[in-house]
């Protein structure tokens, strides 16, 4: 905090009040409700509910479809992070090098970033439809593509739909990270090391570590939460429920299945996962990266 501050007994609370009010009413009230739901069992007709202890949690752990969603979410975030990160980095490195047309490339490569995941999903829908779909035809000719029966094909569908727009986000941040590296460092390294590729991996890439790490977290959160709109407009979890993410499954069970207890328990499990990632981010990785 500042050494020099205003002295006042009440005006600080005037500045804090608007956001805190919104948080209390629209965030903390529902969060408390989520915890209440997670520990109560409602009877099938919605007439009454009773305290259920950890029954809802035991139920989701004994439910194989929960583990299917868990497995898919892990695979999905890993693959999306890897694909979008490496393509984004590759393109950013090239765009940083070229002399001509830099800003044209930049503009054309970043604009898919602004498109909503749900819109991307609707678009992907057309490319994978049996009737019009170019990608559907292409893959079908290659190996008999059929996403509503074959799990692997459904994975390909949602991975392509989910990765596309996220390449832009990775590109923007990697390019900004590359441009922040001082010219003198690069010039000095050219004298020491002739090989372009070796120089990239020993000098440039380590200097990009903060950006890389930031993007890993961004990509994981994207795959966890933002892909909701993509799943809901593409496979809806098909073939069975193999392409449901954890968030999508919680929504389906709660909103469509009206099983508030199970949805609450799933939300709390998800909060724990996000909490673990956040702690990992602050404690473990931040300490290992050398800034500057």
């Amino acid at each position: 905090m500042k050494k020099v501050q205003f002295k006042s007994n009440y005006s600080q609370y005037f500045f804090l009040a608007p956001q805190l009010l919104i948080l209390l009413i629209f965030l903390y009230w529902p969060i408390i409700q989520t915890f209440k739901d997670a520990f109560t069992m409602q009877d099938a007709f919605g007439f009454g509910s009773q305290f259920a202890g950890f029954d809802n949690f035991l139920f989701i752990f004994s439910d194989p479809s929960y583990f299917t969603a868990f497995k898919f979410t892990i695979i999905y975030s890993f693959v999306i992070t890897f694909i979008t990160g490496s393509i984004g980095l590759l393109l950013a490195v090239q765009a940083n090098k070229v002399m001509h047309g830099k800003s044209a490339y930049k503009t054309l490569l970043i604009w898919p970033y602004a498109i909503a995941p749900a819109v991307v999903g609707v678009m992907a829908n057309y490319f994978f439809s049996e009737r019009y779909g170019l990608l559907h035809h292409l893959f079908n000719n290659l190996w008999g593509f059929n996403w509503y029966e074959n799990v692997f094909d459904a994975y390909i569908y949602v991975i392509i739909a989910g990765s596309w727009k996220q390449i832009s986000a990775n590109f923007i941040f990697f390019l900004a990270g590359l441009q922040a590296i001082q010219k003198t460092v690069i010039e000095a390294s050219i004298i020491d090391c002739k090989s372009n590729i070796r120089r990239f991996w020993t000098i440039t890439f380590p200097l990009l570590m903060p950006t890389t790490f930031f993007l890993i977290i961004i990509n994981i959160t994207y795959a966890f939460f933002d892909t909701f709109g993509i799943i809901d407009t593409t496979t809806i979890g098909a073939p069975g429920s193999e392409t449901k993410t954890l968030v999508y499954k919680a929504y389906i069970d709660g909103f469509k299945g009206l099983d508030l207890g199970s949805a609450g328990a799933q939300s709390i499990m998800m909060m724990i996962i996000v909490l673990v990632i956040t702690i990992f981010q602050f404690r473990y990785i931040e300490g290992k990266i050398h800034y500057n």
């Binding site: 989520t34 070229v98 898919p112 498109i115 995941p117 909701f228 909103f255 508030l260």
Partner: protein, 273 residues
Amino acid sequence: MTKYISSTINHFILSIGLLIMVVPIWIIFASSTHSSLFINTNGLQFFLGDNFIDNYSRVLFKQSGFFNEITALKMFLNSFVMATGIATLSVITSLMTAYGLVYFKVKYATFIFWLIFITLLVPLELRIMPSYIVMSKLNLVNTFAGLILPISASAIATFFFRQFYKSIPDELLEAAKLDGTNSWSFFIDFLIPLSKTMIAAVFIFMFVFGYNQYLWPLIMTTSEQYWTVVMGLKTMYGSISDRFAFVIMSMIPPVIIIIFLQKLFIQGIFQNK
């Protein structure tokens, strides 16, 4: 010579990148200018047709939706109100919170900081059902307030502004105090002008974020009067070329904003680093 070859390789890789990012949208756009009949018999198109004006004006002004109560134009208006509301409110509240936390002695400041921080762990998607119940208890279903308020507190924006205020030298406040500036006019006359770039960046970010909301409007609007563009896409029934045209139109506002304001946006994000 090697320089020439390596720059050719750079351009080649970038062109492949461009193909991946631009061609899908081009195909949808080109297809949206053909009649549905043509698409149904010939599939997706690479080249422009001549139904552009027909298709787009039909989509904009035709009553659509499940009960035929809304036009695409109205959906754009709704999306615009929602996105502007979210962006404005989140900029104002996070500016104020950051100011209160940095420039005043606040009791329980750490507790308040964590209260804001924890919200990062609980995105809307995780509290969707209880949020709906809360909103219906408050009678906010099918209102703009209901669409805007729950998404308008941004912890990230608050931290951005907080970091920025902490980096402003103490001498500024000392000098202002000597001139007899009070806390309100210091905020309005000094800090807000100083944080203009960041305000613009946060506003852009939150506008696109608000415009692109899908799940929340889907749940909060049972009346078609409040449908927004992004949620309306999935539920809109119409011929295939109408849907193509609507997809293309739906991406225009956020894409224009990002393209024209990209410099500002990127500057604002990295000003803090």
